[in-house]
Amino acid sequence: AQSVTQLDSHVSVSEGTPVLLRCNYSSSYSPSLFWYVQHPNKGLQLLLKYTSAATLVKGINGFEAEFKKSETSFHLTKPSAHMSDAAEYFCVVSVAFSGGYNKLIFGAGTRLAVHP
């Protein structure tokens, strides 16, 4: 069965330092993977997606993620954190159903705090 595990429920960094949010997935075939961000009292915004093209995926706001099949990981990184990056981040795997439809399986989320 497909699943996704976010290894840290909370991550705290100082402004200007690197960000690493860890995600492992379980999938019986080559998955589609996404990172979404949710700012307080807002909906979810797509940061980036992996769909079996380049293993290093660049997203919005300077974020990127690397797909590592051997490690079944899809960690999210950013070289330098900004105060506006404080939010909750969700790693998501897409699950295919017969008939060509899919649904998203969400990780539990990682809350990122950025300190001055």
Binding site: N41, K42, G43, L44, L104, F106
Partner: protein
């Protein structure tokens, strides 16, 4: 291009009442998804509509229901409200069932 819109922004009901939440997808998107985000429970998949039909349903009781209209907008109905139904309800849309989903801002439902 307008994003996914949801109404109302906030909804306050009492236990036993019915709630109706509405969602308008991005123009051209035929699939609409509903999720519940309750405190401490994460994002839970509720319902998925495509081309006017219910395609899949999450592990929720039948009092959670909905429909999709010919213009692809959607309604989520929750009957016999319970306190634990208090949550942020998110709607998402996609251009068919096999693409990334774009989310609306959500409706905050509070059951007193």
């Amino acid at each position: 291009e307008a994003g996914v819109t949801q109404s109302p922004t906030h909804l306050i009901k009492t236990r036993g009442q019915q709630a109706t939440l509405r969602c308008s997808p991005i123009s051209g998107h035929t699939s609409v998804y509903w999720y519940q985000q309750a405190l401490g429970l994460g994002l839970q998949f509720l319902l998925w509509y495509d081309e006017g039909e219910e395609r899949n349903r999450g592990n929720f009781p039948p009092r959670f229901s909905g429909r999709q209209f010919p213009n692809y907008s959607s309604e989520l109905n929750v009957n016999a409200l319970e306190l634990e139904d208090s949550a942020l309800y998110l709607c998402a849309s996609s251009p068919g069932g096999y693409n990334e989903q774009f989310f609306g801002p959500g409706t905050r439902l509070t059951v007193l």
